[in-house]
């Protein structure tokens, strides 16, 4: 059973937001408009956090859902709308979500977003592989789970095993500097598993014990 995870190399991240926009296009994430945005209701499954402390830059930090192995959001959901799949993905079942937003409160990483309205998709056609969320439900990064399903289906019709590199989320695909690496953490030979044990590796909120499956790489920088 694969264990899907991600490594983000902050030394390569330039804060260009390509991953954030690729994610929006791939997952039918709408722009909420000026009025809603002013109320802090922007939806950004992949969000670029500004790491500047005010005294010299610490760079930018792309933040998808960490798909924590022991995810607090899954414990608080009263209807099991958000749960952990056997492959370690934290799923969000929109049809089951009652919009209580407990999971948003529970998530230490602000990775969950609420649909305050039925927002208009300003594209001609949405991505047909991803459902559009109704008003009143919570949504978040799925590690482009639909791509996994597609890749599996393709492999099945071709009567073969799916290779791990057939499943790549949109953010990884678009990153110009190759800062995002995705793959099977349970396979010790995979690049993502190797990088997750790099000396530069660290995870956010380690002390909370949520066991995120997104690992960051960073080394100290010097500035004039």
């Amino acid at each position: 059973m694969p264990l899907w995870g991600m490594v983000i190399d902050l030394d390569r991240c330039t804060g260009c937001q390509a991953c954030a926009f690729a994610c929006m296009a791939e997952n039918n994430v709408p722009a909420v408009g000026p009025a809603e945005a002013a109320q802090g209701r922007r939806i950004a499954w992949m969000q670029i956090l500004d790491g500047s402390s005010g005294h010299g830059p610490d760079g930018f930090i792309p933040r998808p859902c960490f798909h924590c192995d022991d995810a607090p959001c899954t414990h608080v959901c009263p209807v099991d709308a958000t749960n952990r799949t056997p492959e370690g993905l934290i799923a969000q079942v929109y049809t089951r979500c009652i919009g209580c937003r407990y999971c948003m409160v529970a998530c230490p990483f602000d990775a969950k977003f609420f649909n305050w309205r039925r927002y208009r998709m300003a594209t001609l056609e949405p991505n047909p592989d991803v459902s559009i969320r109704p008003k009143g439900v919570v949504e978040k990064c799925t590690f482009c789970h639909h791509r996994l399903q597609r890749a599996r289906e393709r492999a099945r019709t071709e009567r073969r095993e799916m290779a791990a590199d057939e499943y790549r989320p949109a953010c990884m695909e678009t990153c110009p500097t190759g800062a995002i690496v995705f793959g099977d953490l349970s396979d010790a030979r995979s690049e993502v598993a190797r990088l997750a044990h790099d000396p530069r590796a660290f995870r956010f909120g380690e002390e909370l014990g949520t066991e995120p499956k997104v690992t960051y790489l960073s080394r100290v920088r010097r500035h004039a």
Binding site: C16, A25, E26, V32, R42, T174
Partner: protein, 782 residues
């Protein structure tokens, strides 16, 4: 074969025919195929296209569901981006869907500028336009028709050129910051080149960038980003180092190994300060400088005047202490930069956009580029290289009749190429004043293509007024903007995903590439590709114009030009890595096998995969990059009127302190702002930049904490940025990523805040655009 619905239907149709002919009627047959069409899954295809959100020309794959755009991603085969894309690219999905787009051609129905239009048919519109243009030509006034074009290149540009020449107007003027298909003026003057040079970023190990937003807004953020990823890759190669000199902590500066904050407008001084250390510590490439440069030592010109050479200039005027005082960069940093630059190989210095934009723009750029000569990286791997040419087939020559010859001899309306703008190829910023004054002649027709000069030029306000004097203004904008409002006739173009496209990539890293994009969707409205409109117009005008543009449609032009690639015996249609690897091995052994039986097969493959390229980078050689008459690199050059220009920024002291306007306004380009500003792309408007996470749908000003305190402004305040010319209301972003005394605003503002409304209407003599970084402003709470 890609399994598409069309193929599927074809196959099914065949079976259906056999079945029904055996025991049914033709009516059954018709019904059967109709059922099939209804029930088959929608056609799901990925069509190659080219991103036109910036001048980089990344390859796209656009997902079409039954011909409607439903997604896009980077073309994994395309040599520029290899499947990667930047943030802007995704805005294209919303550009197509923009609900405000013009539904079809329009004619002015109210007063000029009232914004009232009524629909008109394409034929009627083109007939009217052609007859008016014909009249002008008959009256000998062809030169009074002006075409103002924005940022685009390739055969679309060629068609406009052919139109202008055969019709007889010298006034095909471009309004744009970067001309990627032309050599930078500095390279033209110092190296005598006639085609653009490239910085071999991915093979360089030390990159010193002066004010260039390499990773966000320079020629190609994706290409530069891929090079940057390579510098960070480690492995057995030396880790690449990026040093950014900039008065603002840009994304590039934040990602760099070292950010060197500098007083704005003093980049050239710092460059010469670095040169000083290189000379005094004998770190420069003496062999190259002695053999292949001119102007290093003092020299005497033919008239007997003595000139200081670079050595004397630098040693006398640019000692590290003096330089440090003027630039605000510590002496130790200057020395470190010089030593690192000289000792890391290969190293390259980039300083093309942004550092200057002041009155001594040219001298600043020459000072920066002189460093490349001093470290001897010209024509070297990882340095400044000459990209290969794209061997497109030559189109038949343009026919110029007597009328055209006569009016082509008229001076340019913008004054480019003569007088004060002798070194400029275009001087769009000078246009408004010329239109207003009717000097040297009144403009009778103005075409606006892919540009919105009323807001994109600092002098746009003046232009809006001056447009009242032009009897005929034609806009090709696909959506309403400030300039199309003043048009008499609007002939809306397709947006780029809807049309045939081509793009030569020549300026990035030495390889030559040509992209071809097919229409990824059927046109959503009754719009027409402007390239086709030019052809239709030429046909109506007839005569030499018709002869010079004798194609039915734009893809015929592309088809004709692409034949040259097929016949060139070099390069190939992009292919998966394994296949390209085989070709490389073959190439190294000195033979090549033709890919395709016929040109049509070649053309089809090009349309399926999206690009042709020749990865064999032109042999790195000094001879190719030095095209001057002497074959040497010239530290100093003579302008057409005989003035000597060279490194050495104007020795002017820092701009005078001004009590009324104490701050210097500096502008920059955001990583998320596409050509055209992107107002109709909600995703881009909502998350403009990662360093202002709370700002959405608004513009902002970046201000140093000290200046903020002095102006009584706190972070997040609504403020007015005021100059002598005007004011704009924005949000204050207080942070230390800017130097004290300087405030930064992103170009192409939003929410009614346009930096050009406050930037002074000054023309940069060499670039013909506004001086974007010299206006003085003050800030107060709104």
């Amino acid at each position: 074969m890609i399994f598409s619905r069309r193929n599927f239907l074809k196959a099914m149709g065949l079976t259906a025919t056999t079945a029904t002919v055996a025991g049914g009627t033709t009516a059954d047959l018709g019904q059967a195929s109709e059922d099939l069409a209804r029930w088959a899954t929608p056609e799901d295809r990925w069509v190659p296209s080219i991103c036109q959100q910036c001048p980089a020309g990344c390859g796209l794959l656009v997902r079409g569901l039954d011909g409607v755009v439903a997604g896009l991603r980077g073309n994994p085969l395309h040599p520029v981006n290899r499947g990667a894309l930047c943030a802007k690219a995704y805005g294209a999905l919303q550009l197509v869907a923009d609900p405000e787009r013009f539904r079809g051609p329009l004619r002015r129905a109210g007063d000029r500028g009232s914004g009232r239009f009524e629909p008109i048919g394409w034929d009627e519109a083109l007939d009217q336009l052609a007859s008016r243009l014909g009249e002008l030509r008959a009256e000998g006034l062809a030169h009074t028709a002006v075409v103002l074009g924005g940022q685009y290149r390739g055969l679309r540009d060629t068609l406009w050129q052919r139109f202008a020449r055969s019709y007889g107007t010298p006034n095909y003027i471009r309004a744009r910051c970067i001309a990627p298909e032309r050599p930078a003026l500095t390279h033209r003057l110092m190296q005598g080149v006639t085609s653009p040079l490239a910085y071999d970023l991915d093979r360089a190990r030390y990159v010193l960038a002066f004010g260039v937003g390499l990773l966000e807004s320079w020629i190609s953020p994706v290409w530069a980003g891929r090079a940057f990823g390579g510098w960070r890759a480690g492995g057995d190669r030396l880790r690449g180092t990026l040093v950014v000199v900039d008065s603002r902590r840009s994304l590039t500066a934040a990602a760099a190994d070292r950010w060197v904050p500098i007083r704005p407008g003093t980049d050239g001084v710092l460059a010469l300060g670095i040169a000083n250390v290189l000379l005094r510590e004998r770190l420069y490439d003496a062999a190259f400088v002695d053999d292949s440069t001119a102007g290093f030592e003092d020299w005497v010109d033919p008239s007997g005047r003595r000139h200081r050479g670079l050595r004397t200039l630098v040693l006398q005027d640019y000692g590290p202490l003096a330089v440090s005082e003027r630039t605000g960069v510590p002496v130790e940093t200057i020395a470190t930069l010089a030593r690192e630059l000289a000792r890391t190989r290969p190293a390259v210095v980039v300083g093309e956009r942004g550092p200057a934009f002041g009155p001594d723009d040219l001298e600043t750029r020459m000072a920066i580029h002189a460093l490349n000569a001093l470290v001897g990286n010209l024509g070297m791997e990882g340095g400044v290289v000459m990209p290969g040419a794209v061997p497109l087939a030559a189109l038949p020559p343009v026919v110029e009749d007597e009328v055209a010859k006569k009016s082509l001899a008229q001076p340019r309306i913008d004054g480019a190429g003569g007088g004060a703008h002798g070194l400029a190829t275009d001087a769009a910023q000078a246009l408004p004043a010329r239109v207003a004054s009717g000097q040297p002649y009144p403009v009778n027709a103005l075409f606006l293509f892919a540009t919105n000069p009323v807001v994109s030029l600092p002098a746009g306000g003046e232009l809006a007024v001056a447009l009242g004097k032009v009897p005929l203004v034609v806009s090709f904008s696909p959506f309403p903007d400030e300039s199309s409002r003043f048009a008499d006739l609007i002939l809306p173009d397709h947006v780029f995903l809807e049309r045939w496209q081509d793009d030569p990539v020549t300026h990035l890293a030495g390889f030559a590439a040509w992209s071809l994009g097919r229409p990824a969707t059927r046109p959503r409205h009754d719009t027409r590709d402007t390239a086709d409109v030019i052809l239709h117009l030429a046909k109506r005008l007839g005569g030499s114009v018709g002869e010079s543009l004798a194609w039915e449609k734009y893809d015929d032009v592309l088809y004709e030009a692409a034949r040259g690639l097929h016949e060139a015996e070099q390069g190939y249609v992009v292919a998966p890595r394994e296949e390209e690897w085989v070709r490389r091995v073959q190439g190294q052994q000195g033979y090549r096998t033709p890919d395709f039986e016929s040109f049509d097969d070649f053309w089809d493959a090009l349309g399926e995969r999206g690009a042709w390229w020749d990865p064999a980078r032109a042999a790195a050689s000094r001879r190719t990059v030095l095209g001057t008459s002497t074959g040497k690199f010239h530290f100093f050059a003579a302008t057409p009127d005989g003035t000597i220009v060279g490194p050495g920024p104007a020795p002017a002291a820092p701009p005078d302190a001004d009590a009324a306007f104490p701050l210097v306004l500096s502008t920059y380009r955001l990583a998320t702002r596409p050509l055209g500003g992107g107002r109709n792309q909600p995703w881009l408007m909502e998350s403009p930049a990662a360093h202002v996470p709370t700002v959405a749908w608004r513009a902002w000003v970046e201000i140093h904490p000290e200046d903020a305190r002095r102006s009584g402004v706190a972070a997040g305040d609504e403020v007015w940025v005021e100059s002598a010319k005007g004011r704009m209301r924005v949000i204050a972003k207080v942070h230390d990523g800017t130097a004290p005394g300087v405030v930064h605003v992103p170009m192409a503002g939003v929410g009614g805040a346009q930096p050009n409304t406050i930037i002074a209407d000054v023309v940069d003599p060499t670039r013909g655009l506004g001086l974007f970084n010299t206006t003085r402003v003050r800030i107060r709470r709104a």
